[in-house]
Amino acid sequence: MIELTNVRKEYGETLAVEDLSLRIPTGTLCVLIGPSGCGKTTTLRMINRLVEPTSGSIRLDGSPVETRDVNELRRNIGYVIQQVGLFPHMTVSQNVATVPRLLKWDKKSTAARVNELLDLVGLDPGEYGEKYPSQLSGGEAQRIGVARALAADPQIVLMDEPFGAVDPLTRDILQSEFIKIQRKLKKTVVFVTHDIDEAIRMADTVVVMQEGRIVQADSPEDLLARPATSFVRDFVGADRALKRLARFAVADIMVPAEGLGVDLEATEIASEYRFPWVVDEDGRFVGWVDTDAVSAGTTVGEALHRVVAAEFCLREEGSVKDALSRMIHEGVQSLPVADGDGRLTGSVTLAAIQEFSTRGTAL
């Protein structure tokens, strides 16, 4: 648990952070976001004492940071910055081994740990271990930056716009990889960003700052549903309803659905729907039947519209936003949901998405 209580930081005349109070529960990821100069970096750097607050207190699991030896404190807090700051004269392995070396781990456990971390961030230790930072791409360098911060298994990790300097595609990959890592390791993370989409994607709690103060601290869903001020509303963007839908999975709103097993030679079909979904004997999604065509005299087989289940069906772990986008694109009111084998597991309707969206906002 990180607790900031009435923290204030002045730089001469400039008030960088004003009376800021925040609790970040253990194992959660807290994103600090806000316009340039609002005090995000200052807040972050007060936690590992790279900046000393003018007043107020910062406690980690109840113990005030200023009572701890500053280097001992920092060795127990991971630190990742936008410019990465890898040591150019050291190999990737040596960079990752920085904190274990400061903590005087023995060689063997350090080497084992370095390999473990390179694997964790998706880089082959054999290929990358002996490279120098100048030989890495921006994305690779930042993976090493993350590995280096996690080397001594700190409970707290501070990240200042860690993915701010890489191209959008790489950023997307780094984000999803870090989400995976975070799910596994459950660190207490303070994450600074400028990017609202990144914030919404990564955060357990989003803290929106303005001129050194917190204007709203909420879960991404609640922040998008109910921005506290017009500043926050503008900041999260006009498409906040869509952004919010991106936070939910198809599994959250789908309802069970059954497919019709059909006889392709039959010349009549009983269904309450105009276009009933058809599954094969294993329950795998096959397509749909135009019941009007069957009534007009064709066989079910001729009226069957076959599709590739993996392409057509939604996946339970897909986002509601993507489901909505698919519906608009296909011009349909509902879409089937299938599992990895293409077996029909449920359906999502446009009405359900609308209902879900307005219910969340009104809550």
Partner: protein, 242 residues
């Protein structure tokens, strides 16, 4: 390229070696200056003079390197910035003094011999080392230092593991400049009786013997070239690694 490298590593040291062999040197200068009566300075051997010269350079450069790096480190520490312009100014002034004048002024205080020569050479070597130490340390990216501090490296660890290794190639460049300048300047040491390669040059001047002058100058120039080469290769080797 290959030829130039060969020139650096074989031709120059070979030429230096040949200059030190009395019959070879005598033959060479007889060919150049057929009318001069003596072709070889014989009061001391060229090897002895080269040894004295190297000793002068080494004894003066070593403390200068230590002082230059020390001062450079000190003024780049937190709180040391105030002294930065002061130290740089002092070193620059020392640098602009004519070496001969420094020698002349040092003699009353230190007497004749190696002492005033070493003192003057020491003064002249500090500046390039200091200048490059400051430049090298300043060239360390702020993000690198921020990361180092953020991971729990104290100021001393940061200096030893990050700043000095990263500044090393640049500092070595300063040392090289200092040494090369010193090899040339040390020939003036002969004026105050410090020995070295300046001895035959002065003897040649006094006795109107261009062979002596050229011999001393040639050995000094070749020595400077060889030292420059060696230090430069050290720099690039280290620089490539980093």
């Amino acid at each position: 390229m290959r030829f130039r490298r060969a020139a650096g590593w074989i031709v120059t040291p070979a030429a230096l070696g040949l200059c030190l062999i009395p019959p070879v040197a005598t033959a060479f200068f007889r060919f150049l200056f057929p009318d001069v009566p003596d072709h070889l300075y014989t009061r001391s051997t060229m090897v002895t003079l080269l040894g004295q010269h190297l000793a002068l350079v080494a004894i003066s450069s070593l403390p200068a390197v230590i002082a230059g790096i020390g001062a450079g480190v000190a003024v780049t520490r937190r709180g040391g910035e105030e002294f930065l312009s002061l130290v740089k100014g002092a070193a620059a002034i020392a640098q602009t003094f004519p070496p001969a004048a420094v020698l002349a002024l040092a003699v009353p205080a230190l007497g004749f011999g190696t002492k005033p020569a070493v003192f003057a050479l020491f003064l002249f070597s500090i500046f390039p080392v200091l200048e490059n130490t400051i430049a090298g340390i300043r060239s360390v990216p702020p993000a690198v230092l921020d990361a180092a501090a953020g991971m729990g490296m104290g100021p001393v660890v940061r200096l030893l593991r990050i700043e000095l290794p990263l500044a090393f190639p640049v500092i070595l460049g300063g040392v090289r400049t200092a040494v090369v300048i010193n090899v040339g300047t040390a020939t003036l040491g002969a004026i105050v009786g410090a020995g070295g390669l300046g001895v035959p040059i002065i003897a040649g001047l006094v006795r109107f013997n261009p062979a002596f002058v050229l011999h001393g100058a040639l050995v000094a120039a070749l020595l400077a070239f060889v030292l420059d080469r060696s230090l430069r290769s050290l720099e690039t080797r280290y620089g490539r690694e980093a």
